[in-house]
């Protein structure tokens, strides 16, 4: 009899505990959030943090400029120099000056592999989208200037398109082999090409000719197309 009581006691205690837990879960129910929601939330924090970093840089840059002006304010000549330097910097940032620096040369050519019945001949040639991907990978690896066969590639202006047997960049026809020059940290750029999951490596597996050389000094021509602004208007301050 005594043993049976203990058994009951244990069973009931367990039941009581579970009911209590369940009750708490239910009553708190509204405060539970989905993991999906949580990760969205976290992403928002990440975005804001990245923007905060940018803002800090912008403020620092503006402060630099102010101090430059303050230094230059004594003489007319030096204000000219400040403005001139600003124009030069803007031109360089927009890809309108010839630049040089350390970087890489990436060579891409059509495959020399024999065609067999399982391969499509279009698998063996370099396409416009291949170049677009390669250029974007270099850009993502921090390239400061990129050119393909001498044509400067700007992310906001240059389009890369197939035009029959050749590829058009900046409305200029380019044919294989494609020589992609990039200025930046040559180690980063090289590894962007050589990592196993890179687009360049995928082309390599297809049998295309892909070779990367780090160069001590790379020279890249400026963007040479007219800049058309027919539809665009600057928003004036205070409007």
């Amino acid at each position: 009899m005594k043993f049976k009581n203990i058994r009951w006691l244990i069973l009931m205690t367990l039941l009581g505990m579970l009911i209590a837990t369940q009750w708490r879960t239910m009553s708190l129910g509204v405060k539970y959030v989905g993991l999906g929601e949580l990760s969205n939330f976290q992403r928002e924090v990440d975005i804001e943090k990245a923007e905060v970093e940018q803002l800090k840089e912008l403020i620092a840059e503006n402060n630099d400029k102010i101090s430059e002006y303050n230094k230059a304010i004594e003489s007319e000549r030096s204000i000219y120099e400040v403005l001139d330097k600003e124009i030069k910097d803007l031109k360089m940032n927009s890809g309108l000056t010839k630049v040089k620096g350390p970087g890489i040369l990436l060579l891409i050519d059509d495959s020399e592999r024999e065609l067999n019945e399982y391969t499509d001949r279009s698998d063996l040639i370099v396409h416009d989208l291949d170049l677009a991907h390669l250029v974007m990978e270099l850009q993502a690896a921090g390239a400061e200037a990129i050119s393909v066969n001498g044509q400067r590639v700007l992310m906001n202006r240059s389009n890369i398109f197939c035009n029959g047997p050749v590829i058009k960049i900046n409305n200029q026809h380019l044919g294989p082999p494609y020589k992609i020059w990039a200025i930046g940290n040559s180690k980063h750029l090289e590894s962007a090409v050589n990592t196993p999951w890179s687009y360049a490596n995928r082309l390599r597996l297809f049998g295309l000719f892909v070779e990367v050389n780090t160069k001590i000094i790379v020279e890249i021509e400026p963007y040479n197309q007219p800049i058309v602004q027919n539809y665009l208007e600057e928003i004036k301050e205070g409007e």
Binding site: L15, L18, L58, N62, L83, I87, S94, R157
Partner: protein, 240 residues
């Protein structure tokens, strides 16, 4: 041990059944698929407070930035006034700022809305535009070919050195992580831009065939904000 009476068996049975139900309920709450599962509110409260903190910091920095920019403008204005030559130079600075994407601009154009497939589809899908970020690269490429004069992805201005790449579960543009829905704004001839994208066998068709939601709208006026970061070249230098 004595044999249990009938009502005792029933009672123990009932207790055991309710134990089972409660246990399974408890399991269900925590054991859903990874992103469908629930977590206690404390974690989300932590993130929420972090978000509030970061936003406060951002607001403060924005104010500080406006202040500094005003100060810079004043100094610039006062130092070039009464001098035609310097004024011309100042206008050149403005011109190149606009070319480079460092000013807010407005004009006619199009806006593209790109989103994941609707969630209430008959059969659910794991499609996420983040994994197909290459479509964004192609769309931007297409816009440039159609003569777009300014492009922004989710408010991030595309400048000469802007990258579009996948970074874990987000798309980084100008190193800012973005996620669906994606909005691409472009200034240019609205008819040309829209026509280039919506052409037969064009990208809009391809993207729609993959079940993503895409909508292209012509706009008579669209504002595109300036690049919000700082371009600093570490390796490249000018060749005279």
């Amino acid at each position: 041990m004595r044999k249990l009476k009938f009502w005792e068996t029933i009672a123990i049975g009932l207790v055991a059944v309710s134990l089972g139900i409660i246990l399974s309920l408890q399991f269900k709450v925590v054991q859903n698929s990874l992103l469908g599962g629930l977590v206690p509110s404390r974690k989300s409260a932590e993130i929420a407070s972090e978000l509030v903190k970061v936003r406060e910091e951002k607001d403060k920095l924005l104010m500080q930035l406006a202040e500094v920019e005003n100060k810079l403008d004043e100094i610039e204005e006062s130092s070039v006034k009464d001098n035609q030559f310097l004024m011309n130079l100042k206008n050149d600075v403005k011109k190149y700022k606009t070319i480079g994407g460092f000013t807010d601009v407005t004009g006619s154009g199009i806006t593209i809305k790109l989103d994941n497939p609707p969630e209430d589809m008959t059969f659910s899908s794991d499609l996420n535009i983040i994994d197909d970020y290459t479509y964004i690269i192609y769309l931007v490429n297409e816009l440039k070919a159609a003569g777009a004069e300014a492009i922004a992805v989710n408010g991030q201005r595309i400048i000469a050195t802007s990258e579009i790449r996948q970074a874990s579960d987000a798309i980084n543009v100008n190193s800012i992580p973005l996620s669906a829905p994606i909005t691409i704004d472009a200034i240019g001839n609205p008819d040309t831009l829209e026509g280039a994208l919506s052409a037969r066998f064009g990208y809009v068709e391809a993207i729609r065939e993959k079940n993503y939601q895409i909508e292209v709208k012509k706009m008579s006026k669209i504002d595109i904000l300036k690049y919000s970061g700082v371009v600093k070249f570490k390796y490249a230098e000018e060749v005279e």
